[in-house]
Amino acid sequence: MNLHFICNGQAVQIDVEPNARAIDVLRDVLGLTGTKEGCGRGECGACTVLLDGKPVNSCMVLAGKLEGRTVLTIEGVAGADGSLHPIQEAFLDVGAVQCGFCTPGMVLSTKALLDENDSPTIDEIEDALSGNLCRCTGYGKIVDGVLEASERLAQGTQEHGAKP
């Protein structure tokens, strides 16, 4: 089947098998291997991408569902010039990354949260990231990373005078 969607700001037109999963289209057709597969059952969140701004487990989404929609993967989070997004900077500064396999999904779930809610409470952070498992960090530094990112984004917004 023919599929059109916007991926990381670029229009994509591809031919895919009707039963293909979104994660396979991203990784195998588009070469966006930053999206990780940890369980294949929607239980770990490593494959999280944003679909029209909302986090989804791309292993549980059929490729056909991407038609006409907008997808953001980890490759589209940093600026085109390679500058890191404030969430990425914050995660690195507080030590929220260890092995890095859950990291792309964590960053995207965090982005979805902070795009909606610029000063989340701890409970709201827990709710937003409860579908993203991590075995390395114990999660404390991931929560720190989200809080730090929200502060930096707030400062950035002040500096630039308007909400993005």
């Binding site: 990784r27 195998d28 070469g31 966006l32 291997t33 930053g34 999206t35 990780k36 597969e37 940890g38 369980c39 294949g40 059952r41 239980e43 770990c44 490593a46 993967t73 980890i74 490759e75 989070v77 940093a78 890191l84 990425q88 995660f91 690195l92 500064d93 507080v94 030590g95 990354v97 260890q98 092995c99 890095g100 396999f101 859950c102 990291t103 792309p104 960053v107 952070i125 827990e126 990231l129 409860s130 993203n132 498992l133 991590c134 075995r135 390395c136 960090t137 114990g138 999660y139 404390g140 530094k141 991931i142 929560v143």
Partner: protein
């Protein structure tokens, strides 16, 4: 700027945070095909027939391999004689046993084809408990019998010393199998050529190279193993990476096509090693003033179908059964047995979490029986510099246990509400731990590391130990940066490639910072010699008057006399002073009696004391951890951010071990091989771990440092058990202590 002891970002963080880091599953090669195995599906039996015709006929299937297709001995393992086949040829010893490998044009086709392979197995009654395995008339799982490994530690005369004890506590403590549950399932990718290259998510690439080559029946030099970015390991990506790595290489050479094998989550849980379940009988005697005089411990480990790391885990439990205490009379017997279950091996902590749970439970029981303060009894018996530990080894330095106890004692504040409240029970627990750093007497302990400087002053570190998320690459880069006076962003650490770095032994035993770091330090010191000698010539002074700092060679007595390091490096190169060095760090030969397990074992121990305050919901059994303090003597903190990450992460693994995680078997088949049914801690289960570093300089580590990756697992597990036992008023003797267990214990208490 000297970066030792400074909070620094992970040197490999940029690739990871942007998704550019290449994990094994991210490799793509033209013509690549995919492998999937057919597993036994029954825990014990004998193969009578394999019929793969239906699989072969599936469009897209390119090859089907059985044991007969393996050129080499079809054996892997850790300690010879190896006992684990890549593909079973006759005996089936556990449910997840690989029998047939199917290769197809896609992973999906390979999986479907593997399901179509018919393996007829004449089943045996599976042996599923250690008692059944040790029964006199038990069927032998291996020709050698059902005892994998058994050892004794004998210090003093425990039996006699119990006579002089005023109080004795006795108990039997049990722990369950735990899965590593790293987020990245095991994955390898083999690329054929004149030499074969294996890209692997793995922990010990040289170990894998040896086994791959042996099973290909080729010399080691014909195989190159490249460690891909590895999505967690915790001890788990040794055996299984060897198994699928060898299979992928064998298939790749047969087909002359790249072969990827990527486990699904269920395979990762069923078909790769777990933490040993344990049953520990422990008896401890003390005088009425609280001094422990004797301990007798019997450790039985359920090792599952194959030996894997069991010999070394067995040994680790012997050495650590006394905990961090001076006990003059000690008898420990530790035995691992084969059962028809998933094999057990290395998992962060390596036997120490199991025995620490037993030991720390008994310390609390002793304190209660004697009416002593639970922290005070630990201080009274805790090791100090100059004391002989369980193996009789005496450290004159870097025994920081007492300081960790002091830090915890100072932290004490009342976190439980003073008013009684009907819904909740509150409790506080303490636990101490000691964990050996380095392979020590368990095996050879050599690390080779290279440091080289380019003429532009940038530095490349090469070492055969692996980055698995723990931050070792950052530590090694910090060491090179500190010695060579260049900023951290000028230092890179090579990916591990068996062609490009020296064999450094396995990445285990919390040895990367200590043993690995010493090799990096030595190599950097040699490169520094060239630089300061050159700078001395340039400034017409002796080399000892030069220091390397802030990117310059600087005259010590005149800060303004300085030459940029790239200029010095360039001049050194043209003068013929070497800018690259390969150095070795070798732990001293252990002076050790393997019959009594007395002597010098490890180059250092990490010591720790934890405190945990909990609130237990009487109705639901839910435990809220209000406070968790983890004080560890790490010698010297190299990267505080990395240290906190290690202690926080290890603590949650310990918490999972003690409260949530359990592999559930029914008739030898794992029932919960997925994240919906296996209770892996989520962000909502996290505990508020606060790291308290104690720095008792370790002479055997770089800048005095020692490892920290494993010890918090044991302490966090034990402290949880003690805190919950304190809250509920019942001593729990089995891990995990689940909500159901807690509710049941409370109800039982109410009825008594």
């Amino acid at each position: 700027m000297n970066v030792i002891g400074k909070k620094v970002r992970k040197v490999d963080g940029q690739e990871l945070i942007t998704g550019r880091a290449k994990f094994a599953g991210d490799y793509r090669f033209p013509g690549m095909v995919y492998g999937s195995v057919k597993r036994a599906g029954v825990p014990a039996g004998r193969i009578t027939k394999i019929d793969a015709d239906a699989a072969r006929q599936l469009p897209g299937v390119v090859d089907v391999l059985t044991a007969a297709d393996i050129p080499g001995p079809n054996l892997i393992g850790v300690l010879p004689p190896f006992d684990q086949p890549l593909l079973a040829s006759d005996e089936i010893r556990y449910d997840g046993e690989s029998v047939v490998l199917v290769i197809a044009e896609s992973a999906e086709i390979a999986r479907r084809a593997a399901e179509k392979v018919s393996v007829t197995i004449n089943p045996y009654d599976p042996i599923l408990t250690v008692d059944d395995a040790l029964a006199p008339d038990a069927r032998k799982i291996h020709e050698t019998g059902n005892v994998t490994f058994t050892k004794k530690l004998i210090k003093g005369d425990a039996a006699a010393a119990f006579e002089g004890a005023d109080v004795i506590v006795e108990g039997v403590y049990e722990t369950s199998n735990q899965d590593h549950a790293y987020l990245e399932p095991e994955t390898v990718c083999a690329v054929p050529g004149r030499r074969i290259t294996l890209y692997a998510s793995c922990q010990s690439p040289f170990h894998i190279r040896g086994h791959v080559a042996a099973n290909l029946n080729l010399p080691a030099s014909s195989v190159k193993v490249v460690q891909a970015s590895t999505g967690g390991s915790f001890g788990g990506k040794d055996d299984v990476a060897t198994e699928i790595g060898a299979l992928a290489c064998i298939a790749a050479l047969r087909l002359n096509r790249p072969v990827m094998i990527a486990h699904e989550r269920a395979e990762s849980m069923i078909g790769s090693n777990l933490r040993h379940a344990a049953r520990i009988r422990c008896k401890t005697g003390a005088t009425k003033d609280g001094k422990i005089v004797a301990r007798d411990v019997n450790v039985l480990l359920d090792g599952g179908a194959y030996a894997s790391e069991s010999p070394f885990v067995t040994m680790k439990t012997l050495i650590h059964a006394a905990g961090p205490y001076t006990i003059e009379n000690l008898f420990v017997e530790s035995t691992t047995v084969y059962t028809n279950k998933t094999y057990c091996g290395a998992f962060r902590g390596f036997g120490v979490p199991q025995v620490t749970f037993a030991s720390e439970s008994q310390i609390d029981e002793l304190a209660d029986k004697l009416g002593m303060d639970r922290l005070e009894i630990r201080r009274l018996n805790g090791l100090k510099a100059g004391d002989a530990n369980a193996t009789g080894q005496v450290y004159q330095q870097s025994v920081g246990l007492q300081e960790t106890i002091t830090k915890i004692a100072e932290s004490v504040e009342t976190s439980a509400p003073t008013t009684e409240d009907d819904r909740y029970l509150y409790g506080t627990g303490y636990a101490c731990v000691a964990q050996g750093i380095s392979n020590g007497a368990e095996g050879v302990d050599v690390t080779g590391a290279s440091v080289q400087m380019s003429q532009d002053g940038s530095v490349l570190v090469g070492i055969g130990l692996t980055e698995l998320g723990q931050g070792s690459r950052t530590v090694w880069a910090q060491l090179a940066s500190a010695i060579l006076g260049v900023s951290l962003d000028r230092v890179s650490v090579r990916l591990v490639d068996t062609d490009g770095v020296h064999d450094s032994g396995p990445t285990v035993a919390s040895r990367s910072t200590t043993v690995g770091g010493m090799a990096v330090l030595k190599a950097a010191e040699e490169v520094k010699k060239s630089l300061v000698t050159m700078a001395g010539l340039m400034m017409k002074t002796d080399a000892e008057n030069i220091e390397l700092r802030d990117g310059f060679a600087i005259l010590k007595m005149d800060d303004n006399a300085r030459i940029p390091i790239p200029d010095v490096a360039t001049a050194a190169y043209w003068t013929g002073f070497p800018l690259m060095n390969l150095a070795f760090s070798k732990a001293p030969d252990a002076d050790y009696d393997h019959d009594t397990h007395q002597g010098d074992v490890y180059i250092a121990y990490n010591y720790g004391t934890h405190r945990m305050d909990v609130r237990v919901d009487k109705l639901t059994g839910q435990v809220k951890v209000l406070n968790h303090l983890a004080a560890h003597d790490v010698g010297k903190v190299i990267n505080p951010l990395g240290l906190e990450g290690q202690i926080e992460g290890a603590s949650l693994i310990g918490f999972g071990f003690a409260h949530m995680e359990k592999i559930r078997y029914r008739d030898g088949i794992i029932q919960n091989a997925n994240f919906a049914d296996y209770a892996l801690p989520s962000i909502k289960d996290r505990i508020p771990t606060a790291t308290i570093p104690v720095e008792d300089h370790n002479p055997t580590g770089p800048f005095g440092a020692k490892g920290a990756g494993e010890p918090p697992v044991a302490a966090a597990g034990a402290v949880f058990a003690n805190a919950v036992s304190d809250a509920v008023g019942v001593r729990f003797e089995r891990l995990p202590i689940t909500r159901e267990d807690i509710v049941e214990a409370i109800e039982r208490g109410n009825h008594d």
